[in-house]
C-alpha cells in the first residue's frame, strides 16, 4: 500500500512554522517514513506544475502556514485545496492573519509609498515606480504576483478542515497532530482546533494570581517584575487571559507577557476586543481623567491586543483608501 501523501506550504509567513516542523527533531524521520512528501518548497525541490499535474484529492494531508496577501498565495491555496483531502491552517498567520495581518491597519497605497518611495534608503527614479504585475522587456514579458489591499486568513480564502494555532505551533503539539493522523485514528469533527486546549493561557501559567485591580500599566522594561506574581497583577499587559492555552505558558515562564499567538479561546469571537473589555473592567479608578491617564499608559493598543488576530477579527481592517 502506498504511503499517504504530505504537502507543506508557506504563503505570507516568516518561515518560523517551517522551522517548528523541523523542531520535532529526530521524529522528522518518522514523518518521512510514514508519509510520502510531495510538496515542500521550503525544504525540497518541487515545482508548482508538479502539484498541478496531480489528481484532485490525491494529497492526504496539507499543512498550510502563512496568511494570504497576494495572488500567488491565493492561487496555491486554491490549488492545494483541490488536491488535498485534509487541509490544515497551520500557525497563527494561516489561522487568523497573524503578524502580517497588522498590514490591515494601513492601505496598499501607503505600504507601497513607504517601501518604494519614502524610506530614506530608497533612491527613487522617475518619481518612483511601484512593482508592476506585468512588465515587458526585450527578452519577453515578466509577470509577478499582485499585492492585495487586505491580508486574509486562510479560511477567508478557502475551506479549511482543521486549525493548529501558535506562532509557531509548539513541536510537541505538531507531533501530536501528525501522530494522530499516522495512527489512523478517527479524525475530529471538521473545524476543530488541534494542538491546543479549551482553557486559556492562565491555566498553564504557574504564577500566583490575585483579584485584579490595576492602577498603572507598565511596559516590561519599565519595572523589575516579581517572577511568581501574575504579570497582569503587576501592571504588565499580558494577553494570557484571552488566549487559548496549549503552548505551556512559555512566555510568562520566561518573564515575558503572553502575546496572544494561540488565538482566542473557544467562545471568544474577537480576542482583542475581549481583552480590552476585560482590562477596562479592572481599572481601579473612578474619575474619567484618571481612567484616561491609566489607559494612555498602554503603548500600541492595536499591536498589543490585535497582534495576531486583526485580519480575522470583527474589525478586520481600516477603511479602504
Amino acid at each position: 500500500m502506498a504511503k499517504p501523501k504530505l504537502a507543506l506550504y508557506w504563503a505570507a509567513s516568516c518561515g518560523g512554522c517551517e522551522i517548528a516542523v523541523l523542531d520535532i527533531h529526530e521524529k522528522i524521520l518518522d514523518v518521512a517514513a510514514a508519509f510520502d512528501i510531495v510538496f515542500w518548497p521550503c525544504a525540497m525541490d518541487f515545482k508548482y506544475h508538479d502539484v498541478r499535474a496531480m489528481e484532485d484529492k490525491s494529497i492526504d494531508l496539507c499543512l498550510f502556514n502563512g496568511s494570504i496577501r497576494n495572488s500567488e498565495g491565493a492561487e496555491i491555496a486554491h490549488m492545494l485545496r483541490a488536491k488535498s483531502k485534509v487541509l490544515v491552517a497551520f500557525g497563527s498567520c494561516a489561522l487568523e492573519g497573524g503578524i502580517p495581518g497588522l498590514a490591515n491597519l494601513t492601505t496598499k497605497e501607503d505600504i507601497c509609498r513607504v517601501v518604494y518611495k519614502d524610506t530614506p534608503s530608497t533612491v527613487t527614479q522617475n518619481g518612483g515606480v511601484y512593482p508592476q504585475t506585468h512588465s515587458k522587456m526585450k527578452e519577453g514579458s515578466i509577470e509577478i504576483p499582485e499585492l492585495w489591499e487586505t491580508v486574509k486568513s486562510l479560511d477567508q480564502v478557502i475551506d479549511v478542515e482543521y486549525y493548529v494555532p501558535g506562532c509557531p505551533p509548539q513541536p510537541e503539539q505538531i507531533w501530536a497532530v501528525i501522530e494522530h493522523i499516522i495512527s489512523g485514528k478517527p479524525l475530529p469533527p471538521k473545524g476543530s482546533i488541534l494542538g491546543a486546549t479549551d482553557k486559556t493561557c492562565c491555566d498553564e501559567c504557574p504564577r500566583d494570581r490575585k483579584e485584579k485591580k490595576i492602577k498603572q500599566f507598565f511596559r516590561p522594561f519599565e519595572i523589575q517584575t516579581d517572577p511568581n506574581e501574575c504579570l497582569l497583577d503587576q501592571g504588565i499587559v499580558c494577553m494570557g487571559p484571552a488566549t487559548r492555552s496549549g503552548c505551556g505558558a512559555l512566555c510568562t515562564k520566561a518573564n515575558v507577557p503572553c502575546r496572544g499567538c494561540y488565538g482566542p479561546p473557544p467562545h471568544v469571537v474577537d480576542q482583542g476586543a475581549k481583552m480590552v473589555s476585560a482590562l477596562s473592567s479592572v481599572i481601579d479608578a473612578v474619575e474619567p481623567e484618571e481612567i484616561e491617564r491609566i489607559l494612555d499608559q498602554i503603548a500600541d493598543p492595536m499591536g498589543t491586543f490585535y497582534r495576531f488576530s486583526l485580519a480575522h477579527s470583527i474589525l478586520r481592517r481600516v477603511e479602504k483608501a
Partner: protein, 586 residues
C-alpha cells in the same frame, strides 16, 4: 475562730487575723500612719503599737501585723501605749508641724507641743512623712517598682531610680492616690513636657460601657488598666466575690452563618476642631454635644454635675447649633437631631444650675411629635434664643471677678445687630457624619452610598430599609441622621422584612443569572473583584471562579469582562445575541 479581749470588749475572729482588724471589728480605734488595705502590713510607723497580755507576760507589738491568738488580751490605751504613741507623734510633729494628717492624729492623741526640735524640720503642708505607702503601693500592688527609699536616718527620702524620670513608671497615679499628705502629684505631660489632650474617658479602667449595655457587665480598658502594663494590681479580682474577672479574655472574631444582615453601624461625630473659629480642642470649656451628654450623665465623669474644668458651676452656657451641618464647607445636609437635643441640653442646664442659657440657631426645626410643644415650653423657661450662627468664640474676661471665660461673637439677625455674649461654657451641636470606615463596610456588602456618604436605601420613599443587595438591610444613622424614634421605626421595619423572609422559608429569584462554564474558566481572577453584588467567589480547589446564584442579579458586568467567555448570562449568551443581531440585520 478564736476569742480575744480588746479593751474589755470580747470579739470572735478568725485565727491569724491581725490585731488591727480585730480591733476594727470590735469598734476600737487604733491610730495608723503607714497602713493600707492594699498591701501587706509594713509596720514602720509604730503608731499602732498596742500592749498584748498573755498570761502574766505583757509586751508591746504593732497591731497592724501581729496575729491574734486564742485567749489574748489587748490594751490599746494603756499608759505604756499612750506614752509610746505620744513620743512618736511628738517626733512627727516636731519634724512636720503643718501636715494635716499628722496634726489630726496628734490632736486626737493629745499631743500639743513637742518637747523635741527636729534637725530636718519641714514646714510644708504637703511634706513627705516617709510613711512608705507610695513605695509599697508601687512595688507590691502596681508592681512597677519605680519608687524606693534612699539614705537612712533623718536623711531618708523617697526617690526615683537615679533621681531621674523612669521609663518603668506607667503614670498610674496609685502613689499619689495613697499619699496621705498630698506630697506626690501626678503631672500629665509627655517626655517633651507637653500636656496631653483633655479627654472624657471612662472614670476607671474597669467600667460598664453604658447604663443600657447588653449584657450589663463591666469591661476592662486594657489601655489604662494597670494589670496589663505591669501584671500587678488585680484589685478588682481580689474583691470580686464570684471570681468573674478574667484577665486572659481576648477579643475574638466569631464567624456566624446567616441568611440576612441588618447594618446599623451608626455615625461619627463631626470633628469641630476643623472649624477653628469655635476653638474646640483649643479653648477650655468648649464641648462637643456627646461630651456634654457625658457630663450630664449621672454615671459620667462629673456625676451629672454641670461644672467647668476648674470645678465651678458655669454662670452662662452658650449652645451653638449646626456645627458642620447645613454648611457647604462641611456637610450640606441638616443633621436633624441637633435642634431638639440642644433644647434638651438647655432644659437640663436650667434644671441643674442657675446659669443663663443662650441658644444660637439658624432656624428651629422642631418637626416631630411633641417637639414644637417642647420648644414653646423652653421659651417659657427663659432660655435666650438668638437667631444667627455664631461667628467665633474667643477668650475674654468676665469683669466681675476676673475669672477666665469665653465670649461668643455673633450677629443677631432678628434685631440686625452684632452681639458679643459672655459665657463660661459652650456646647457645640456637631453634625452627624458617616462612619470613617463606612466605605469598607459598603464594599463588603456591595451597597451604595448617597452623595452625603450615608448608606443608600433601595428607594427613598417606597423601600427605605433595604439595599441594592438582597438580604442586606440598613437602619438608623448608618442610613442618614435620625433621632431615636425614627431609628426604632426603621429598625423595626427592617426586622419585620427579615422575619417575613425567614417565616416564608424560601426566596424566589430572577432566572437571569450569570454562570461560569467550568471547562473554559482558567481562573485569571479578572471577574472576582468587580461583581457589584459580591456574587463571584473563587474555588481554590479547582482554581476557577464560581457564581453564587442566590446573590447574582444578572447584570452582566462579569460576562462582558470575562476574557475567555467562560462567563455567560443565562438567556443572554453570545450565540443568542449574535443570532438576534443576524435576525435584525438581514
Amino acid at each position: 475562730m478564736v476569742t480575744i479581749n480588746i479593751d474589755g470588749k470580747t470579739v470572735e475572729v478568725l485565727e491569724d487575723t491581725t490585731i488591727l482588724k480585730a480591733a476594727e471589728q470590735a469598734g476600737v480605734w487604733i491610730p495608723t500612719m503607714c497602713h493600707s488595705e492594699y498591701f501587706e502590713p509594713y509596720g514602720v510607723c509604730r503608731l499602732c503599737s498596742v500592749e498584748v497580755v498573755r498570761g502574766k507576760r505583757s509586751r508591746i507589738v504593732t497591731a497592724c501585723n501581729y496575729p491574734v491568738r486564742g485567749g489574748m488580751t489587748v490594751h490599746t490605751n494603756s499608759e505604756k501605749v499612750k506614752w509610746l504613741r505620744k513620743i512618736i507623734m511628738e517626733l512627727m510633729v516636731s519634724r512636720w508641724p503643718n501636715v494635716k494628717v499628722v496634726k489630726e492624729i496628734a490632736e486626737r492623741l493629745g499631743v500639743e507641743k513637742p518637747r523635741f526640735a527636729s534637725l530636718e524640720r519641714d514646714e510644708a503642708e504637703n511634706a513627705c512623712i516617709l510613711c512608705g505607702m507610695c513605695v509599697n503601693m508601687c512595688n507590691d500592688v502596681v508592681k512597677a517598682g519605680v519608687l524606693g527609699f534612699a539614705h537612712s536616718g533623718i536623711k531618708r527620702e523617697v526617690v526615683l531610680p537615679f533621681d531621674e524620670r523612669s521609663d518603668q513608671c506607667i503614670v498610674c497615679g496609685a502613689c499619689a492616690h495613697v499619699c496621705p499628705t498630698g506630697h506626690i502629684k501626678v503631672v500629665f505631660e509627655d517626655y517633651r513636657g507637653k500636656k496631653p489632650e483633655f479627654t472624657l474617658g471612662p472614670k476607671t479602667p474597669i467600667y460598664v460601657p453604658t447604663l443600657q449595655a447588653v449584657p450589663r457587665v463591666p469591661v476592662i480598658d486594657a489601655e489604662s488598666c494597670i494589670h496589663f502594663k505591669t501584671d500587678g494590681c488585680e484589685n478588682c479580682a481580689k474583691v470580686c466575690e464570684p471570681n468573674a474577672i478574667d484577665y486572659d479574655m481576648k477579643d475574638e472574631i466569631v464567624e456566624v452563618d446567616v441568611g440576612q444582615i441588618l447594618i446599623a453601624t451608626g455615625f461619627d461625630l463631626f470633628d469641630a476642631s476643623a472649624m477653628a473659629q469655635y476653638g474646640y480642642g483649643r479653648l477650655d470649656n468648649v464641648y462637643s454635644s456627646l461630651e456634654f451628654e457625658s457630663i450630664l450623665n449621672s454615671t459620667g465623669p462629673t456625676g451629672g454635675n454641670i461644672v467647668m474644668k476648674n470645678g465651678k458651676e458655669p454662670r452662662a452656657v452658650g449652645i451653638i447649633h449646626c456645627i458642620g451641618s447645613r454648611d457647604i464647607n462641611h456637610h450640606a445636609y441638616c443633621s436633624r437631631v441637633c435642634c431638639m437635643y440642644a433644647l434638651k441640653f438647655a432644659h437640663l442646664v436650667r434644671d441643674r444650675t442657675k446659669a443663663a442659657i443662650y441658644q444660637f440657631y439658624i432656624d428651629m426645626r422642631a418637626f416631630g411629635k411633641g417637639y414644637e410643644e417642647f420648644y414653646t415650653r423652653l421659651l417659657d423657661e427663659g432660655v435666650t434664643m438668638i437667631r444667627g450662627k455664631a461667628a467665633e468664640i474667643v477668650e475674654g474676661a468676665w469683669n466681675e471677678n476676673g475669672d477666665p471665660s469665653l465670649k461668643i461673637r455673633c450677629e443677631d439677625t432678628l434685631i440686625g445687630k452684632f452681639r458679643e455674649i459672655p459665657v463660661d461654657m459652650v456646647v457645640l451641636c456637631n453634625a452627624m457624619e458617616p462612619r470613617k470606615d463606612s466605605d469598607t463596610i459598603r464594599r463588603l456588602f456591595s451597597i451604595s452610598k448617597s452623595p452625603d456618604g450615608f448608606f443608600l436605601e433601595r428607594h427613598p420613599k417606597l423601600d427605605p430599609t433595604s439595599t441594592a443587595t438582597d438580604g442586606v438591610y440598613i437602619a438608623g444613622c448608618s442610613q442618614g441622621p435620625k433621632d431615636i424614634p425614627d431609628t426604632v421605626a426603621q429598625a423595626s421595619s427592617a426586622s419585620a422584612r427579615i422575619l417575613s423572609l425567614i417565616s416564608k422559608g424560601e426566596v424566589e429569584i430572577e432566572p437571569v443569572r450569570a454562570m461560569v462554564q467550568d471547562e473554559f474558566c482558567s481562573g485569571c481572577k479578572i471577574c472576582n473583584n468587580m461583581c457589584p453584588y459580591g456574587a463571584i467567589e473563587f474555588v481554590e480547589e479547582k482554581k476557577i471562579s464560581h457564581v453564587n446564584e442566590a446573590l447574582c442579579k444578572g447584570c452582566g458586568t462579569c460576562v462582558a469582562a470575562c476574557p475567555s467567555s467562560a462567563m455567560t448570562g443565562h438567556g443572554f449568551t453570545d450565540e443568542q445575541i449574535l443570532a438576534e443581531l443576524d435576525g435584525l440585520l438581514i
